[in-house]
């Protein structure tokens, strides 16, 4: 009986509804995730367009230019007559920086006067600027060390390793974070939609009837399928995206999958709570959007949480995304990572339970209120139609 009611309600909610539900539940989360993955498919920053100002027409300047031209990271797009020309090109977005080979570069270098080569880069292109300046520094330093002291080795060599991300593929990890953020938002929006469309379409009594009169069955029928569908989608997208990074062990995969499940449960619970609080789909979706859309900015992957003000750190703490990203990042560190990941997992479980209990309580009240309202409208419209029927 209960199972019948549950299945009937699931069928009514998920299989006899318009395309919007399937758009926001399946097509958009997967589509946007794949689109985002495609956007970063080149993974490594290459061919950063730069300019050169040749104030010195010497052999050394030509040699340095040819070394810079041979770098795959840089692409010398312009040779400017003066600094103003290159600066305007930066403003127009044609190049992202420029190098000035100063007057008498070769002469002063040979006289050991150490002439400074100024490199101007645009601070508005943070990522490309970082890669380009690093490359310019290493190309010019290598050329410099070959001039007088080629036979003397540098006493100290530095190697920088990125733990768990051997190729320093930050774009790959950024995409993982973005995909998780997309599902974080998706769970809130779908949670708000699934529980609010019966309110909007005045179908609360119909849904409760399908659920055999039980609001608990209606709750399960609304919440479970969407959580499972979103979770499977997020796992699929995550696994597809993770192929660019080091493979996860079985335990690490289980941990990440569980974290995503609890994140989705917590977020859908939050979306449902917004509906319970406002009773209007537009307001609930708007609230979910305001919290969910910028969540990635607060979650600490692009800009570390520890460098944020205290109030923002508190806000970041209540976002499930922050904890999932923390688990995903600790999974990169190998076999020492399970204990700290469990701490984040406990927080996620608590969040999922809290938001779902709160959402269920509020929705139960809303359904009751709307069912009563629908009954009242029906009676009123019957009374209105009665004289017409008599006539």
């Amino acid at each position: 009986m209960v199972l019948n009611g549950l299945l009937n309600t699931i069928r009514k909610i998920y299989f006899s509804h318009n395309i919007v539900l399937w758009m926001i539940l399946v097509i958009l989360p997967i589509g946007v995730s794949l689109f985002t993955m495609g956007m970063f498919s080149s993974q490594i920053v290459q061919h950063v367009p730069i300019g050169i100002v040749h104030q010195d027409n010497s052999q050394l300047a030509d040699k340095l230019e040819s070394k810079l031209r041979s770098s795959p990271v840089l692409d010398i797009k312009m040779v400017c007559a003066d600094m103003g020309e290159c600066e305007h090109a930066v403003i127009r977005g044609e190049i992202q920086g420029f190098i000035v080979f100063p007057n008498d570069l070769e002469r002063r270098t040979l006289r050991l006067e150490a002439p400074v080569i100024p490199v101007y880069s645009s601070g508005q292109n943070y990522l490309t600027n970082m890669f380009a300046t690093k490359e310019i520094r290493s190309v010019l330093a290598a050329a410099g060390s070959e001039m007088f002291t080629a036979q003397i080795e540098d006493p100290v060599k530095v190697q920088i390793h990125s733990v768990g991300n051997l190729k320093s593929n930050y774009q790959g990890f950024l995409v993982l974070g973005l995909v998780t953020a997309i599902f974080h938002l998706a769970a809130m929006i779908v949670g708000a939609y699934v529980t609010s469309f019966p309110l909007r379409d005045h179908r609360v009594r119909e849904m409760i009837r399908y659920a055999g009169g039980s609001r608990l069955t209606l709750w399960f029928a609304s919440v479970f399928p969407m959580n499972i569908i979103l979770w499977l989608e997020s796992l699929g997208c995550y696994a597809y995206c993770h192929r660019l990074l080091a493979p996860l062990s079985f335990e690490e995969f289980v941990m990440t999958a569980a974290a995503q499940l609890f994140m989705i449960a917590a977020c859908s619970g939050a979306g449902i709570t917004f509906v319970g609080l406002t009773g209007v789909m537009r307001m609930a979706t708007g609230g979910a959007g305001i919290i969910g859309s910028p969540a990635f900015a607060f979650a600490g992957q692009t800009f570390p949480v520890m460098a944020m003000p205290f109030a923002v750190r508190c806000f970041a703490f209540i976002l499930p995304l922050t904890h999932v990203l923390m688990i995903q990042s600790t999974m990169m560190l190998g076999d020492v990572n399970m204990v700290p990941a469990w701490h984040s997992m406990e927080i996620l479980i608590c969040m999922a339970i809290f938001w779902n209990i709160l959402g269920a309580l509020l929705m139960s009240m809303r359904w009751k209120q709307f069912a009563r309202r629908e009954a009242k409208y029906e009676e009123a419209s019957k009374l209105e139609n009665a004289p017409e029927a008599t006539a």
Partner: protein
């Protein structure tokens, strides 16, 4: 004529302020996001990142190197370990985000003119930590190396130390960051995001208000209203005027108040700012008017455009260059006003571009505005003629 346009515009404002969802999107979102987004990045840069040193050498030189690292601004040496495993465990516990390993016999090898390798390990998930820790530790280690190399050159080539320094690094480079001298993260990310916020909230707002007025209940409610029975051009341009004036005030608010509060570079000249506002808002409003005709329900636009905010932000070409994206994605990005508006806004406001510098981007926005205007007028005309049961609330 002007009076009739303003009448429609006033009616639209009244509608905005009497619909809570429209107020949330067209007023509250623009205000909240202006503060909500920059606040995490208010300190602009990452400093004092907790790190550790694994000293396997334990000599005067290794202790010097550790002291030098402790003095670096970007990092804070929290612990000194004698074993790499301890550092790894601390990193897994999130107590540190990186560590430097000083190899065994470093001092002995350097004095014996053998090259040593200093390894720096950073947490692979965080690009900003990687940059800060890598730069700080490698500067310290290379300084130790440079000091010793200068000594070797001075002794080997019999030259004074000043010349030895020049021989080691004959043309040092000096990196100047233009238009964001502090290298602040907020200066880089927030101005672009503000433009995307303006675009997204305006498009969703227009759709929620039902730009086309295709909704059954709305049409029934207002069927006798003189404003709703105005001729198509007056209705279309009157509503556009309402959104235009409303969002001009947002651009002014961002330029005069938000930029001041958060101390973002503000170099915008009046003429390019005005031209930008006109073409950008025209493009977005007409785009919103076109999109609003497609959805049958007012909430659908909200649900769809909220999903789109992440790709829209990255398609705007400010954080990930367009030339690294697949061609078809770049082609898709030409549909969105933000693709041209974000670089144009950055050029004007952050870099102080004059009208000639940004003209190509403003032309592209103007072309978009014209195309969407024609489409918007056409679709509104089709919707006007459609039966009343087309679409509902």
């Amino acid at each position: 004529m002007i009076k009739r346009l303003w009448k429609v515009a006033f009616a639209e404002w009244k509608l905005i302020y009497t619909d809570p969802a429209a107020v949330l999107l067209l007023v509250v979102a623009g205000l909240i996001y202006a503060f909500y987004y920059p606040i995490p990045y208010i300190y602009q840069t990452v400093s004092k990142v907790p790190v550790a040193v694994v000293d396997l050498d334990n000599t005067a030189m290794s202790r010097d190197l550790t002291r030098m690292a402790s003095a670096a601004q970007q990092i804070e040496v929290k612990s000194i370990y004698a074993d790499m495993k301890e550092a790894e465990a601390a990193m897994a516990r999130d107590e540190i985000y990186g560590f430097m390993v000083i190899p065994e016999n470093m001092e002995k090898d350097i004095r014996g003119k053998h090259q040593v390798t200093v390894n720096i390990f950073t947490h692979g998930a965080y690009v900003m930590f990687h940059g800060a820790i890598g730069t700080a530790f490698s500067t310290c280690a290379l300084t130790v190396g440079a000091t010793n190399k200068v000594k070797q050159i001075a002794l080997g080539k019999q030259v004074p130390s000043a010349k030895a320094i020049a021989m080691r690094d004959p043309f040092p480079i000096s990196i100047q960051t233009l238009f964001n001298s502090t290298g602040g993260y907020a200066n880089y990310v927030v101005p672009s995001v503000l433009v995307v916020i303006l675009q997204q909230s305006l498009i969703i707002g227009i759709c929620v208000l039902g730009g086309s007025r295709a909704h059954r209940r709305f049409r029934k409610k207002y069927r006798d209203s003189p404003v709703e029975n105005e001729s198509l051009p007056y209705r279309y341009f009157g509503r556009s005027l309402a959104f235009f004036v409303h969002y001009c005030s947002f651009i002014l608010f961002y330029h005069c108040i938000v930029y001041n509060i958060f101390d973002f570079p503000r170099r915008g000249e009046l003429l390019p700012m005005v031209v930008f506002s006109v073409v950008f808002l025209s493009s977005v409003i007409n785009f919103g008017m076109v999109i609003s005709q497609i959805f049958l329900r007012r909430e659908t636009s909200m649900q769809i455009f909220l999903y789109m905010s992440i790709p829209v932000l990255f398609l705007a070409n400010f954080s990930w260059p367009a030339y690294l994206m697949p061609r078809w994605m770049t082609a898709i990005s030409y549909i969105l006003p933000s693709t041209f508006a974000v670089p144009a806004w950055l050029s004007i406001e952050q870099m102080g571009a004059d009208i000639y510098d940004v003209a190509p981007k403003l032309y592209q926005l103007a072309i978009q505005a014209i195309v969407y205007l024609i489409l918007g007028l056409l679709l509104t005309r089709i919707r006007d003629k459609a039966k009343i049961d087309m679409g509902d609330m």
